[in-house]
């Protein structure tokens, strides 16, 4: 089984390692705490204070300057700032200041600035701050101008919001907020370049420092949020025990976040709201993924149709394969657009208080991308749009699942088993033919050890040498053919294809698949009889004979497809069944049979070289 093979294990573990690195380090240490911080802003920071500094009524210069520099202390990355951005926006901040905050945050976080100044010089550090702040303000103002209509409506709404008294002193909210911020900052403290100084000391002791702020959070939960003290202490103990039992800091972080969620949810009230709102921010990752799919598919469409990458062209890439490739990309874009449209309509219906559109929290992407387009529509139309988008998306997914079985996109399913069952032997090891071995042993008078030395008949009962038709190939050859997504990497490295010969390894795989499908179709139609065709109707001898068996195509294929195997089996057919090998090869065979060398030199001369060499250098 390939499972026991070291190479296979290494390949699997390397793939998982990369995914795991991102999923664990980034999601657990960075993104999850950021969701809770965003939750704090959304729930504990009063709308009044957000409005005071960032709202439509706040002085523009104050709003923009506070927004563009407040990212300094957060020390977050470009992905983590998103939930924070959406939380202040949700709390009533103007779009301009919120965008300024979004853009400057990752660029001016204190660690990034210190590192920039250290490595690139003091001037670059200063330039980074000035650049980030200036650009963020420019972008923020631009955005507020583009959306000035929406912003005006928002400003009018804010006029009517009554100023509520603060629920707790500002220092308490700040204490709670910053204990979380510092957990985030120190848990993600990167290793500095120099092995001395404060930055290095913090890196060495980062888990102790993080734990210290964890203790401050415990204090805050009990004293400021008024959660039952034994719940909090029990949770903290659980976290501490998990830290002691595990070698990875990720475990106590996960336990801590789980405990925090359970404790706040059980406590109810504002604390429950905190965690629920953190969950709302988490949900916004989904639309982000949808947008990612759209962007990726657009890039792929451009590569195929505008840049016309070499490996996407070729004679086998006309007609259906060309259409198929573009259809898949368009299909995926449309499906993602449907999800975003559905969410946008849903958001508007939520705002209008229509049942059953329960509040889901702010879905920022749909809101900025789609809502402006459908903002002015009436409720029945919005419901129609939402329903149509929903059904379109779900039926589209199911339809796409059926489409995949008719398309090269079946790759997404077969790639896994195909890689699993790929041969782990050297690609240059051509499998033998037992029927030939038996016959040759009989001819040479070698005892094979088997008592049943029967005449050559292959194991499946047919007496054919090599492959003429799909049924003569192995099941792995066929799985290879159906796993191919026509990416053309093989053809782009094939020496024959590069130098303009007819052979294209991709075409070999596509032809094999097409012939198999042709046979399946004719069988369905009840035509069991031979249609008089074979693989040779699709794959020409000229293609077969051009292969140098260099195995570059096998090496480059991401899912270990082996076109050379099919080529060699078909060569076996032409050579052994038909005796139609190229004339030069037939002479070579003849030489081998008579002289035991591929050239026309007598076997008796074979050892002449030794005497020649002994006479001295040639």
């Amino acid at each position: 089984m390939p499972l026991e093979n070291i190479r296979f294990q290494e390949a699997v573990s390397a793939t998982l390692d990369l995914t795991r690195w991102y999923a664990q380090e980034h999601v657990i240490l960075c993104l999850l705490p950021a969701f809770f911080i965003a939750g704090v802003i959304a729930v504990f920071v009063s709308q009044g204070s957000v409005l005071k500094y960032f709202g439509a009524q706040a002085k523009k210069w104050l709003a923009y300057s506070v927004a563009s520099v407040s990212g300094t202390i957060l020390a977050v990355c470009s992905c983590t700032i998103l939930p924070l951005f959406s939380s202040i926006h949700k709390r009533g901040a103007g779009l301009g200041p919120a965008i300024a905050f979004l853009y400057s945050g990752p660029a001016i976080n204190i660690l990034a600035i210190i590192l920039t100044a250290n490595i690139l010089g003091f001037e670059m550090g200063v330039a980074r701050v000035i650049g980030a702040v200036t650009f963020s303000i420019v972008i923020g103002i631009t955005m507020s101008l583009i959306y000035r209509k929406e912003e005006k409506v928002k400003a009018e709404e804010q006029m009517t919001i009554p100023q509520l008294p603060e629920k707790r002193p500002l220092w308490q909210t700040a204490f709670h907020f910053f204990s979380l911020v510092f957990i985030l900052v120190f848990a993600n403290w990167g290793k500095p370049d120099s092995e001395s100084g404060l930055l290095f000391w913090i890196w060495v002791n980062k888990w102790q420092v993080t734990s210290f702020f964890g203790l401050l959070l415990v204090y805050s939960l009990i004293k400021i949020l008024h959660i039952k003290w034994w719940w909090v202490i029990a949770g903290a103990l659980l976290t501490a025990i998990s830290a002691l039992l595990s070698s990875s800091p990720l475990v106590p972080m996960v336990v801590g976040i789980a405990v925090l969620s359970v404790v706040t949810l059980l406590n109810g009230g504002e604390n429950k709201e905190w965690t629920l709102s953190s969950w709302d921010f988490t949900k916004q990752i989904m639309p982000l993924l949808a947008l990612g799919v759209i962007i990726a598919c657009l890039i792929f469409l451009i590569r195929r149709n505008v840049l016309k990458l070499n490996r996407f062209t070729g004679i086998e890439m006309k007609k259906w394969p060309l259409l198929d490739a573009n259809l898949i990309l368009l299909f995926e874009i449309v499906l993602m657009m449907a999800i975003l449209t559905m969410n946008a309509a849903d958001q508007l219906l939520q705002q209008k208080g229509i049942t059953p559109y329960t509040l889901t929290g702010n879905l920022i992407l749909s809101k900025t991308l789609i809502v402006p387009l459908i903002n002015d529509l009436n409720v029945p139309l919005l419901i129609l749009i939402e329903r149509v988008a929903w059904w379109f998306h779900i039926l589209g997914i199911l339809g796409f699942a059926i489409y995949v079985t008719y398309s090269k996109h079946l790759h997404i399913i077969l790639a896994f088993p195909n890689t699993y069952y790929a041969s782990l032997k050297s690609p240059a090891e051509i499998p033998g033919m037992d029927n030939v071995t038996r016959e040759v042993k009989l001819m040479l008078g070698i005892q094979s050890g088997n008592s049943d030395d029967t005449p050559p008949v292959s194991s499946d009962g047919s007496d054919l040498f090599g492959a003429k038709e799909v049924k003569d190939l192995s099941w792995k050859n066929l799985m290879d053919a159906f796993s191919c997504t026509e990416c053309g990497r093989c053809t782009s490295v094939c020496p024959a294809s590069i130098t303009g010969k007819k052979l294209s390894p991709r075409k070999i795989m596509m032809d094999t698949r097409d012939r198999a499908e042709e046979l399946i179709r004719s069988r369905k139609n009840g035509q069991r009889a031979e249609d008089g065709k074979s693989l040779f109707n699709l794959i020409s001898r000229e293609e077969l004979y051009a292969c140098t068996t260099c195995n570059a195509c096998i090496d480059v294929c991401p899912v270990s497809i082996d076109p050379v195997s099919i080529i060699l089996q078909m060569r076996r057919y032409t050579t052994m069944e038909e005796s139609t090998a190229p004339a030069a090869w037939n002479s070579m065979f003849q030489n081998l049979e008579t002289n035991f060398a591929p050239w026309k030199f007598p076997a008796s001369d074979r050892f002449n070289w030794a005497e020649e060499l002994k006479r001295g250098p040639i």
């Binding site: 040479l444 590069i498 010969k501 000229e542 060699l568 049979e593």
Partner: protein, 273 residues
Amino acid sequence: MNPEENKLNIPVYSEQVAKGKYPEYLLWIGCAGSYDDRYKKVIHSFIRILNTAKIDFAVLGPEEACTGDPARRAGNEFLFQMQALSNIQILNQYKVKKILTSCPHCYNTFKNEYPSLGGSYEVIHHSQFIEKLIDTGHLKTSDQQEFSGKRITYHDSCYLGRSNNIYNSPRKVLESMKNELVEMSRNKADGLCCGAGGAQLFKEAEKGKKEIYMERTEEAIRTRADIIATACPFCLTMMSDGVKNSEKESEISVYDIVELIDMAGKSRIDPGE
């Protein structure tokens, strides 16, 4: 230098066995080494090095025959197995344990294709063997070398590289000399075939825009190397043809790695060592 000292010692397996001796290595010459005048020089260099390092080896001599590789790749499985089974009979009869060869096609056939037919041997390519000789101090290069300071580019053989994962041994051999090793843009696992594998050497190429060996030679010439180093008789032929057809013979020459290491150590060879 005394010409007697320079004379090659080429023991033959059957004679050794008749004396009751079983040499440690079988040196497999291959068809190119037996019949191709250019490649005989490579064999000359290899045997000189084996003699100097006092390696216990022997050749099959008149009993050697093609491994069958080109027949198998051209689809003639009968002919391949005829060759393979006859060769295995001889090898097993002489109780051969280790096979040394300079041909990657022979190497691949012995290593990967003979075991399932009853012939299991430890197979060593000359690049690996010379690397080991250098590592163990059995082979030293002299301070004054013919190729000092020259640029060398190494062309990977498909059957050595992609098929058997030998990328570093030939490079280490080249790095042991005082040369500058430069890589072509397609190298190691991405290396471009010379165009001779898969029995292509024995027929004209199919119609196309260009010969494969020209594509590869032009790539080698673009590195501005003085020498193209190969580790395969087929590659040596194809790259030499490429240089000839590009009319660059005065600027760039093609050698097997064993010739280069032999020339690099020429002034040092001390038979008494």
